[in-house]
């Protein structure tokens, strides 16, 4: 019998204190690395917002406020676990090995952005909300058939859990006992629709019950807790104990995207401030600093590393040849039909 593990998993409180000081088994080396990645990612997000406004990269879906859930889940994976992402988890892909410049190219609408390197185990970000969930089950089933100890991990937002594909996917995952972990990023909003208007379900983790799979709700602002529940979910999946749905409760601190979304139309700044206080970086910074494990220098080094990586990525973007008509024509089929080749030739492309 599967069941939903009740309660809201949290290890580090908002103020940086530990929920269970006595029994906490934290690996501080891991936590420090998670801190470094979150600071790096925050910097990247801040820069990406500006770069997107300047047109140096394309559309950007900010991840600020969701770093713990995006990074904590990825860090718990094995390198050969496979991610089927939505559009907001670019940092998860990056930490899984996806080159940053290709992520930039993806945002710019350049085909090379989606040409996933052979040794990076993931699919590309994809626009249709929900489509990734059913696909992840297919990936997981393949691992099961091949008897590989690998897990398919997919991400979706709170809004996405209303899609038919979501329900179909978690049901398939259960029915086929596929090694799958579905990470629901409950960031409070689907564009303008708040989570309480999205569904009457008490928690999104409850949706696991009907599918007969494990469901867990975790403080998505607490990277240690996210890492912890993700490790458990991955282990269960690897051992053939079935899929898990993890609901990470966090907040999208920025607009939905930078293409005209105005959060003041649907939420108050008081609410935003409340969530800002729960920032995943703040609490871990306190916890680590108090133990002498995180310094100003660590912070500036992580930021400098991000700046450095971003500069390199931008250079590579600039050096990448522009996408051509052949790139378009030649990747519709393995062999372009004669008719399509003719159309391509007759179309006057360069003007």
């Amino acid at each position: 019998m599967t069941h939903t593990r009740a309660g809201f998993h949290q290890l580090i409180r908002e103020d940086g204190s530990l929920v269970d000081e006595e029994n906490a088994q934290l690996d501080f080396r891991v936590l420090k690395e998670l801190m470094r990645r979150m600071v790096f990612t925050r910097r990247w997000d801040e820069r990406a917002i500006k770069l997107s406004q300047q047109g140096r990269i394309g559309y950007h879906a900010p991840v600020m406020g969701q770093e713990a859930a995006v990074i904590g889940t990825e860090a718990a994976m094995n390198r050969d676990d496979f991610i089927v992402p939505a559009y907001r988890e670019l940092p998860s892909l990056y930490w899984h090995g996806y080159p940053m410049h290709q992520l930039f190219l993806y945002t710019l609408g350049h085909q090379h952005g989606g040409n996933v390197p052979k040794d990076v185990h993931c699919f590309v970000p994809q626009i249709i909300v929900g489509a990734q969930i059913v696909q992840a089950v297919g990936v997981g089933l393949a691992f099961k058939i091949k008897k590989e100890q690998r897990v398919a991990v997919t991400y979706i937002g709170d809004g996405g859990t209303s899609q038919g594909d979501f329900y179909e996917g978690i049901n398939f995952a259960g029915a086929l006992d596929a090694p799958v972990v579905v990470v629901v990023q409950n960031n409070g909003y689907a564009i303008s629709l708040s989570r309480d208007k999205q569904t009457k379900a008490e928690t999104l983790a409850h949706k696991a019950v009907a599918a007969g799979i494990e469901g867990v709700q975790v403080d998505g602002m607490d990277v240690a807790a996210v890492y912890d529940v993700m490790k458990t979910a991955l282990t269960r999946a690897r051992m053939g104990l079935g899929p898990t749905l993890i609901e990470a409760v966090n907040y999208r601190l920025m607009p939905h995207t930078l293409s005209g979304d105005d959060p003041s139309r649907y939420r108050s700044s008081a609410e935003e401030d409340e969530w800002r206080a729960k920032d995943p970086l703040i609490r871990l910074r306190i916890l680590l600093s108090e133990r002498g494990l995180w310094s100003h220098q660590d912070e500036s080094e992580a930021i400098a590393a991000a700046d450095d990586e971003i500069e390199k990525a931008l250079e590579l973007v600039e050096r990448t040849p522009k996408m051509t008509q052949d790139d378009l024509i030649n990747y519709v089929f393995e062999t372009p039909p004669q008719d399509l080749k003719t159309q391509g030739k007759e179309y006057q492309w360069q003007r």
């Binding site: 909300v129 594909d165 629709l193 008509q325």
Partner: protein
């Protein structure tokens, strides 16, 4: 009269209809509190209440199916699909359910729903926000397909669509939302569904187009005028049913026809119109009908869209070649 952009005219049509018809409901993703991601429903929830203008959870099949069920109980709906690229999620409810309702019940139930969706390229949007998928709907019986090219037509056609007894898919090109303002009558007026419009008179070639391509067609006509070629530009406005009377009348005069569309080449509006011209006007033609379209690829990622979209130069060249060979 009031000066409006196309998106304002659409909002105004919804406003007028909500005021006039208490059975009308407007819903979709982000249409309520947010007023639509393009503000096409801005302020309407405030004005008409949450019962009549509301946000739905994120699920296109349920949005379309909700409208079908509401129709069984005498309600009318304007259901928004946030981008046409997401319509596949709702295809069963739109084509297999709503379009077939009248036929399936011998008219006992009907489905007077308007499915609104933005679409169209040239705004550097991510994948599946731009594609011209109107051809899928043109192939289906039981649903009308409307694409306005300007604010005046948008309001008049949307008002007609809402009072139409059958389902209508109403597609709004992203580039046209705010590209210009024009005088739009206040209150109720209609532009008839199934009627094309001659937007520029000419004598040498009939150029048929719709949506954002109409402006390109007109600009090309002006360009070609300089070389003494006179284009008659026709805005189809409704793609199903097609106004063959206007099409044939124009061809009887010009004896040449070309079709300009943003959608890729095969099995869509242009091929269908060519087939109809073949059936109804072939003896008036001096040469084959040409289609000016992008090739049969996906709508390209943003970095290549400028090159892919038909432009004035391409139209001029195609017409010129047609006239000289």
């Amino acid at each position: 009269m009031a000066e409006m952009t196309m998106v304002e005219a659409i909002r105004d049509a919804l406003d007028v209809s909500l005021r006039e018809d208490p059975r009308l409901l407007v819903f979709g993703e982000d249409v309520g509190v947010n007023g639509g991601v393009f503000r096409a429903t801005d302020g309407l929830q405030e004005k008409y209440g949450e019962d009549r203008v509301f946000d739905t959870p994120l699920a296109e099949s349920a949005i379309a199916g909700l409208a079908v069920g509401l129709a069984m109980q005498g309600f009318k709906s304007v259901a928004e699909i946030q981008f046409l690229g997401f319509v596949y999620e709702a295809m069963d409810q739109i084509l297999s359910q709503s379009a077939r309702m009248r036929y399936r019940t011998r008219g006992r139930y009907t489905c007077p729903v308007v499915f609104r969706a933005p679409f169209g390229g040239g705004v550097k949007a991510p994948e599946l926000h731009c594609d011209s998928f109107e051809g899928h709907f043109v192939q289906s019986p039981g649903i009308k397909v409307v694409i306005p090219s300007n604010a005046y037509d948008a309001k008049g056609l949307l008002l007609s669509s809402i009072s139409d007894p059958d389902p209508v898919i109403f597609l709004e090109h992203l580039q046209l939302y705010r590209s210009s303002r024009m005088d739009v009558p206040v209150g109720h007026y209609t532009v008839e569904i199934g009627k094309a419009k001659v937007v520029r008179l000419g004598t040498d070639v009939s150029l048929f187009s719709y949506g954002a391509m109409v402006a390109i067609a007109v600009a090309a006509a002006e360009e070609l005028q300089k070389s003494g070629i006179s284009l008659e530009v026709i805005d189809l406005r409704t793609l199903s049913p097609m106004d063959m009377e206007t099409v044939v009348t124009s061809i009887r005069k010009t004896h040449r026809a070309a079709i300009l569309q943003e959608a890729s080449r095969s099995a869509g509006v242009a091929p269908e119109l060519i087939a109809k011209i073949n059936e109804q006007a072939i003896y008036f033609l001096e040469g084959p009908v040409i289609r000016i379209t992008p090739p049969d690829t996906f709508f390209p990622f943003a970095s290549l869209e400028r090159e892919w979209l038909p432009d004035v130069a391409r139209v001029v060249e195609a017409i010129y070649r047609m006239m000289t060979t």
